[in-house]
C-alpha cells in the first residue's frame, strides 16, 4: 500500500518536473495577483501593511485553486486514472498520495514565496514572516485536500475551472479566516497560537475525512 503511494507521489513529481511551465504559471499567478492589489488600492504602507496577510492568503487560495483543475484532469484524459481506481491500493490511499504530490508541487512553493510577497507589502517585524509561512504551511495542505473534493466532483465537466471555484471557495472560508487571522493577531502583538492550532485541527480533520469524500466523488465521476 505504501509502495503504491510512494509510486504515485514519485510519478506526479516526475511529471511536474517534465512539465515545469505548468507549475511555474500557477506560482506566477500568485505573485501577479498579490502585486495587483497595491495597484488597485494605492501604495501607502499604512494601507498595505494591515491588508497584507489577507491579500497574500487570498492570492494563495486562488493560485491553489487554479492548479486544482490539473489534479485529476490529465490522468482522467489519458486513462491512467481508471488504472489507479483498479490498482492494488484502496482509493483513499491513492487520493492522499495525489493530494500530497499536489501540495508539494503547488502548495509548498507558495509557502516559500509568500515571505517575499510580504516584503513587498512591508509586513512588519521578523516574527510575522515566520507566522505567515507557518500559517500557509498548515493551511495549504487543507486547501489541496478540500479542493480535491471539488476537482473530483467536476471531473471532465465543461464548466470546469469556474464551477470548481464556486464549489470550493465557500469551503475555503474557515482556512482563510484562521490563516490570515493568525498573522493579524501576531501583527497586533497577540499570540497567534490559537489560530494556528485551529488551522492544525482543520488539517487533521481534512486528512481524516477528505480522502473518503474524494474517493466517493471519483467513483461517482467515473461511473
Amino acid at each position: 500500500m505504501l509502495a503504491v503511494a510512494r509510486c504515485i507521489v514519485h510519478r506526479d513529481l516526475l511529471l511536474a518536473l517534465r512539465r515545469r511551465s505548468d507549475v511555474a504559471t500557477a506560482l506566477l499567478f500568485f505573485v501577479i495577483v498579490a502585486s495587483l492589489f497595491p495597484l488597485g488600492v494605492g501604495a501607502e504602507p499604512h494601507l498595505l501593511r494591515p491588508i497584507a496577510p489577507g491579500v497574500i492568503w487570498v492570492a494563495a487560495l486562488l493560485s491553489s485553486m487554479l492548479s486544482l483543475a490539473r489534479l485529476f484532469a490529465a490522468d482522467h484524459a489519458d486513462g491512467t486514472l481508471e488504472q489507479m481506481l483498479l490498482g492494488a491500493a484502496p482509493l483513499g490511499v491513492v487520493v492522499v498520495a495525489k493530494g500530497l504530490a499536489h501540495w508539494l508541487i503547488a502548495g509548498l512553493p507558495l509557502v516559500a514565496i509568500a515571505p517575499l510577497i510580504g516584503l513587498q507589502y512591508d509586513l512588519g517585524g521578523p516574527g510575522l514572516y515566520g507566522v505567515l509561512a507557518l500559517s500557509l504551511l498548515l493551511g495549504t495542505p487543507v486547501l489541496s485536500l478540500i479542493g480535491a473534493i471539488g476537482a473530483a466532483l467536476t471531473l471532465g465537466l465543461r464548466g470546469g475551472g469556474v464551477l470548481l471555484a464556486l464549489l470550493v471557495l465557500p469551503l475555503y472560508v474557515p482556512v482563510l479566516i484562521f490563516g490570515a487571522g493568525s498573522v493579524e493577531m501576531a501583527a497586533s502583538g497577540l499570540s497567534p497560537a490559537g489560530h494556528l492550532l485551529l488551522l492544525g485541527a482543520l488539517l487533521v480533520a481534512a486528512i481524516a475525512f477528505s480522502p473518503w469524500a474524494v474517493a466517493a466523488a471519483l467513483r461517482i465521476a467515473m461511473d
Binding site: 466532483l153 464556486l166 465557500p170 469551503l171 479566516i177 482543520l202 466517493a216 461517482i220
Partner: protein, 234 residues
C-alpha cells in the same frame, strides 16, 4: 403491508406522485392562515421597540427565513445521504426540489437583513457574522444547483450534487463558527443584527407563527417541484 414495506412502497416516484399532490395542497392551505396570523401579530400586536421603532418588525420575516434556509439545507443533505445510502431515485429528486426553495429563503434573509441594516446601522451591508454565514450558505445552495445543472448524465448529477450537499452540511458549522470568530475579532463589541435582547412573548409568537407558515410553504413548494421533476424524468 408491514411498515417497512409501506415506506419503500412510497419511495417509488410513481406512487409518490399523487401523495405529494395531496400533501402539497394541504400544506399550502395551512400556510396561508398561519402567515396571516404571523403577520398580524408581527405588524400589529407586537409592541414598538424602544430603540429601533417600527423598523425592527422586519425580523418577523428575516429570522424565520434564516431559520428555514438552514433547516432546508439540513433536510436537503439528509435526503442526499438517504439517496447515496439506499440508491433511491426519489431521495435525490427531493434534494433537488428543496434546493431552490432553500436558496430563496437565504436570499430573503439576506435582503431583509440589508433592509433592516440601512435604517438601523446606516449601511446596507455590515459584515455581521450571521449575514455573512447566510451569504456563504447561498453560495453553497447555488453551487449545489450549478453542479447538478452542468452534468448531463442525470444519475451522475444526482449523486455528485448529493455528495456536495453532505460535504457542505458537514462544513456549515465550521464555517459558521469561523465567521463568528472573525466577526468578533474585527468588529469588537458591535451588536448583532439578529440579537433582540429581551424578546417580548408576542414577538416570539409572531416569529414562530411565521416560521411555521414558511415551513408549510416550503413543504408545499418542494412537493410541487418534485412532482414536476418526476414528470420530467419518468
Amino acid at each position: 403491508m408491514n411498515t417497512t414495506a409501506r415506506w419503500f412502497w412510497f419511495s417509488s416516484p410513481q406512487t409518490f406522485f399523487p401523495l405529494a399532490g395531496t400533501i402539497a395542497r394541504w400544506c399550502a392551505l395551512g400556510a396561508v392562515p398561519l402567515a396571516a396570523a404571523g403577520l398580524y401579530v408581527g405588524l400589529l400586536v407586537a409592541p414598538t421597540d424602544a430603540q429601533q421603532g417600527e423598523v425592527y418588525r422586519i425580523i418577523f420575516i428575516h429570522v424565520p427565513a434564516a431559520w428555514m434556509s438552514m433547516l432546508i439545507y439540513l433536510v436537503m443533505a439528509g435526503w442526499a445521504a438517504v439517496g447515496l445510502a439506499f440508491n433511491t431515485r426519489l431521495s435525490f429528486m427531493m434534494a433537488q426540489a428543496l434546493a431552490p426553495t432553500g436558496a430563496l429563503f437565504t436570499f430573503i434573509a439576506l435582503w431583509t437583513g440589508a433592509l433592516w441594516g440601512r435604517p438601523t446601522w446606516g449601511a446596507y451591508w455590515v459584515w455581521d457574522a450571521r449575514l455573512t454565514s447566510e451569504l456563504i450558505l447561498l453560495f453553497l445552495y447555488l453551487g449545489f444547483m450549478a453542479l447538478h445543472a452542468s452534468i448531463d448524465d442525470v444519475r451522475r448529477a444526482d449523486r455528485a450534487s448529493a455528495l456536495l450537499a453532505i460535504v457542505g452540511a458537514v462544513n456549515v458549522p465550521i464555517i459558521y463558527y469561523s465567521v463568528k470568530w472573525w466577526n468578533t475579532l474585527h468588529q469588537g463589541a458591535s451588536v448583532s443584527l439578529t440579537k433582540a435582547p429581551s424578546m417580548a412573548t408576542t414577538m416570539l409568537t409572531g416569529m414562530l407563527l411565521m416560521a411555521l407558515a414558511f415551513w408549510l410553504y416550503s413543504i408545499a413548494a418542494a412537493l410541487v417541484r418534485v412532482r414536476c421533476i418526476i414528470r420530467e424524468r419518468e
